[in-house]
Amino acid sequence: MMTGDWRYILRAQRGVWAAFLMFVLIFGLYIGNHQAGWTVPVITTAANKGVLLAIVAMAQTLPVLAAGIDLSVGMIFVLANCLASTLVVGSGLQAGLGAVAVLCCGAICGLINGAIIVYGRLQPIITTLGTGTVYYGLALGLRPVPGGDIHAGFAEALTGAHLAGIPTMLLVLLALVLLVWIPFRRSALGRATLAVGSSEGAAYMSGVPIDRAKLLAYTLSGLLASVAGLLLTCVTFSGEASAAIGGVYTLNSIASVVIGGTSLMGGAGSAIGSIFGAFVLRTVGDLLFVFDLEPLWQPLFQGIILLAAVSISSLKLLRLRNRLDVFR
């Protein structure tokens, strides 16, 4: 180890730490004022609410790191929910195969996004707006009215139970970080994704596989969104093709990414930051509840938190010496 390593490591992760500290602060305030306090049911409920958004935020992080955006994550989430309420039923084996099918479908949705963006050379924002609407249409066709069911044992295992006081949903989230995010971040192709987001021209000149990097980012994004959709089914025991849910999750996922310290310009950031960003956003809503404030205030507070997080990252504009660089 060279001296001063920790300084650079800390600096690279400061967005994650800032989001983590913000979460600890707000969650502490929440638990401190909660009637029941730190008890297993309270933690489990909070985790079940937070983890869904956290996974969708992870899904959003990958395209954002590649300097893109995915407006279809919420719709893939809803589509996976409707699919799961149809497929993850019956015997244990059937349900297991159904879950795999749901995840494959999510990955394919993401791959389609990536393929259109890479080979069709369309802008990510409009591509995913379009495909998102298509995915929602599929969900609606599948489930015109809310309903369906899910394998009870499967759902119970993921939502109700806990190991030594730790909710299973949190363990699922941890598994996703360890099995998806960390390998992505450490792989050559994952780093290529960051290189593309940081400077596509320089990445091209360095011989980085730009197309494959983007395809991977969008595919993993679709996969993660469908994991969240599967979990949603476990929480609600039904499927619902709701445009409102899809839209809210998409927008909140972008907000979580920003609070988590990932730059919307791409190139720098972490899915772990986005997870804490999602937790912050969720807890702010609950905070109003424990303080007996009208839930009407929730959007206002979420907005203020978001603006505060964004303005920290734009402080560096004050240091620019050439005013034209602001627009570059």
């Binding site: 990445a203 360095s206 730059s263």
Partner: protein, 509 residues
Amino acid sequence: MQAALELFDISKRYGGVRALERANFACTPGRIHALLGENGAGKSTLIKVMSGVVQPDEGRIMLAGKERRFAHPQEAVSAGVACIFQELSLMPDLSVADNICITNPPLRFGLVDRRGQRRIAEAALKRAGAEDIHPLAPVSSLSLSRRQMVEIAKALAREPKILILDEATSALTAADVTRVFSLLKRLRDEGLAIIYISHRMNEIAELADDCSVFRNGQHVGSFVAGSRSAAEIVEMMIGRDIEHVFPPKLEPSQESLVRTPAVSVNDLSWQDRLHHIKLEVRPGEIVGLGGLDGQGQREFLLALFGVLRGVRGEVKLGDRKVVLNSPRQAKQAVNGLALVPEDRKTDGLMLPMSVRDNLSFVALESFARLGVIDRSAEADAIADMLRQLAIKASNIGNAVSTLSGGNQQKVVIAKWLMNSPKIILLNDPTRGIDVGTKQEIYALLRRLADDGAAVLLYSTDYAELIGCCDRVAVFYDGRIVRWLAGEGLTEHALVSSALNINATSEMLQ
């Protein structure tokens, strides 16, 4: 000895513009080969061909005696050709080590081996003489000079057999230049073939074993370093194929010489790019900014126009001391400045908007009454401009992007003239436009000056500076190194002062 890399009869055209015409080139292992030529002589295109960034229209590339074709930069890299470009190929958000190993990271279990990568990066940095750069530092936190050192380390990590440096030292501090020079000499002794492009003659005198001169996309000649004098080299670099027609320059009258300067700049500095600039332009005068590309001329114009932050020194408009903080302030009637920017497609025009809208943006407020645009006043002013500049547009409601390059540039100039500026700054206004329009612009500039405007013209075309300007300030390294005027304003004087050759001519002998 067998040549490491040979090019035969390479031609390359961009649209109608000829960048290279049957160019030949060869370099040998264990020697440093300098490429010389004016702006736009074809040097950059040549090295882009060598490194696989562009494909030649015609010609052959031989690598160690075998014919090769590079369809992609990656293919050139794996064939052992590493290029250090002027525009950096670094990803600012990634760490130094990530950048150095981005093309071919060491893997363990399919994942990037961070320790192995660290070792490679440290070794490459050490070899480049930049072991003080921390491998984990994000590139965006480094200064330009240090970034360039990372760029060199990145090229070295690919174990190249042929190393190309395109103006690699222009951003370096003196200490880093010394390090790079000793590195290059060491690499030469190790048997690398090195191709070196620099506009600094003293560097070439110190480093080069062989020299090749290019002009207008053609290979003029190659010779062993030291066998020609600086004057002979400059002679090889000069040479024109198109004669421009310039309006006659009149001797400045006595009364104009005593007039207060429209702009006077004293001791202007900005960061480490501009140093103690002193310059005056009188009404009726066209003053040129000369020198090689990228010596601070663009920044100087931006500084005058209020775009740069933290500019030190004094700027006077007439007798009035001013501090301008934005283009909006600079264009106000009391200041009367106008800037025709370098890149008309990004900074000059709103391409999808109509010719009419583009023309009236600058002066829009003068047509407005209580915030509502007086359409007939606007139409009159626009019609007047179209006539004055002979802008050819079938319909002024069409998008400005449908016009030819020359007419687009006229629109950029015209929109500023609508504001009746007293001081007109132009940043390479004739680049990439046809000869006919160029002549119209020259005549227009002279007419504006005769009507009492002060004109500051930066141009990369030396003939233009000679033909158009009353006086020329030659920039080098962010300073004005020489003033040329009247009989002394010749191509020879411009080229040699642009290369700052007076200081180095003895070294070449």
